[in-house]
Amino acid sequence: MKTTYTIAIVTQSEILKCGLETMLSCIRSVNLRTVTIPTERAYESIIDIKPSVILVDPLELPSEELVEIKQNIKTSILAIGWSAIPDYYKKVVDGVVGMYDSVEKLSQVISAELKSVKADESDLTPREQEIVAWVAKGKSNKQIACEMNLAVNTVMTHRRNIASKLHIHSSAGLTIFALMNKLVSLEEVAK
């Protein structure tokens, strides 16, 4: 089954909205679902919907809100370049969609962004890698919490995230994964 990605459009301009929607509907290489975000509650809606890519009109969302969105959800933000975009804004977004871009260009940009969002999802964070290594060494959640100076609940949350990223749930399976990715040595596992 092909995954469907949500693309959010944030603008009050009807012409931008309709234009982007039409262009996005021409993209066939990936399954896209387009949603228009109401500008008055844009931030809350975005956090709620968790779109993979956000196309934002720079007039609608200040850069601080974009930073905050990035801290809360895994997403890629592209500015709609209908006018000159200040550098501080460009620094916050992942790219710019130009007014004269073709459907092919838009498709390429979106695909590249989706790829980077997806890669982030399947890669373990350094902290998660550390936890996998402890699991492979035969430590319980409680022991891991002690070793890493974390709450047991936090370790359990990490374990859940690891399981959903790797599709491996058991300790034995994680041990094989840890060995394969050299997170632990054979001697450390045998101990």
Binding site: L166, H167, I168, H169, S170, A172, G173, T175, I176, F177, L179, M180, N181, L186, V189
Partner: protein, 224 residues
């Protein structure tokens, strides 16, 4: 799903296999001898000492997702037990050793660090399934046979329903590990193993479903 054609005892056994070859592992679990000639499903079952209604009930359920209540009324629990016990033997004595052997051959020498843990993982899975099967053979099956004969029993079906858990999870995990993370430069044999593991996982799942959706209702109707 396509419309499922119902087979009857007078239909040809070969036609049944040709209709949907996914039935083959199931025939293997029935230990049905090959060489069907022009024989009907009824003939083949009779020669093999298998109750044809039990056979069709299971076939309809696995192939068509049809749990036929009328057919179920005419099937003895002991005939389902016979099939399930036979399936246990098929998995433990044939299927698992077969997969293990092919897995050993498919492992890449360049991965010698990881290979032992993969085999260990598989062996632990087999041990777990074995415990699961043996429990059923020691408690559930004798209880059902005794119940059918009207003899006194010490077990009850509710205990089974409460305890019956999914044993195929580790297999699904092993499949995932190999599919996603096992790098090998000689993948052909490993692809074969993956086909085996996928099939085996589905077979174990269907085995558990037969217990839950066919055996349990028959036993429940016996005691109520």
């Amino acid at each position: 799903m396509n419309h499922y054609i119902r087979f009857s005892p007078s239909d040809s056994m070969v036609d049944l296999v040709n209709y949907d070859f996914n039935i083959i592992p199931l025939l293997s679990r029935f230990s049905l001898p090959l060489g069907y000639k022009q024989n009907t499903i009824g003939d083949v079952c009779q020669q093999a000492g298998i109750d044809v209604n039990a056979f069709l009930l299971i076939i309809h359920y696995v192939l068509g997702g049809v749990n036929d209540e009328n057919l179920r009324k005419n099937v003895k629990a002991s005939d389902i037990v016979k099939f399930l016990a036979n399936s246990h033997e098929y998995f433990l004595s044939y299927k698992f050793p077969h997969i293990r052997q092919n897995l050993l051959l498919a492992l890449d020498d360049n991965q010698s660090m990881i290979n032992p843990s993969i085999i260990e993982f598989f062996d632990e899975f087999v041990a777990k399934v074995k415990r699961h099967f043996r429990y059923e053979e020691r408690h559930l099956f004798p209880y059902i046979i005794a119940l059918e004969k009207g003899e006194p029993t010490t077990y009850d079906i509710d205990t089974f329903v409460k305890q019956h858990d999914d044993v195929s999870t580790p297999l699904s995990e092993l499949k995932n590990i190999i599919l996603r993370y096992y790098a090998t430069s000689v993948p052909n044999k490993m692809y074969d193993v993956l086909v085996d593991i996928y099939n085996c996982e589905a077979d174990i799942q269907s085995h558990a479903d037969i217990e839950d959706d066919i055996l349990v209702p028959i036993v429940t109707s016996m005691i109520s």
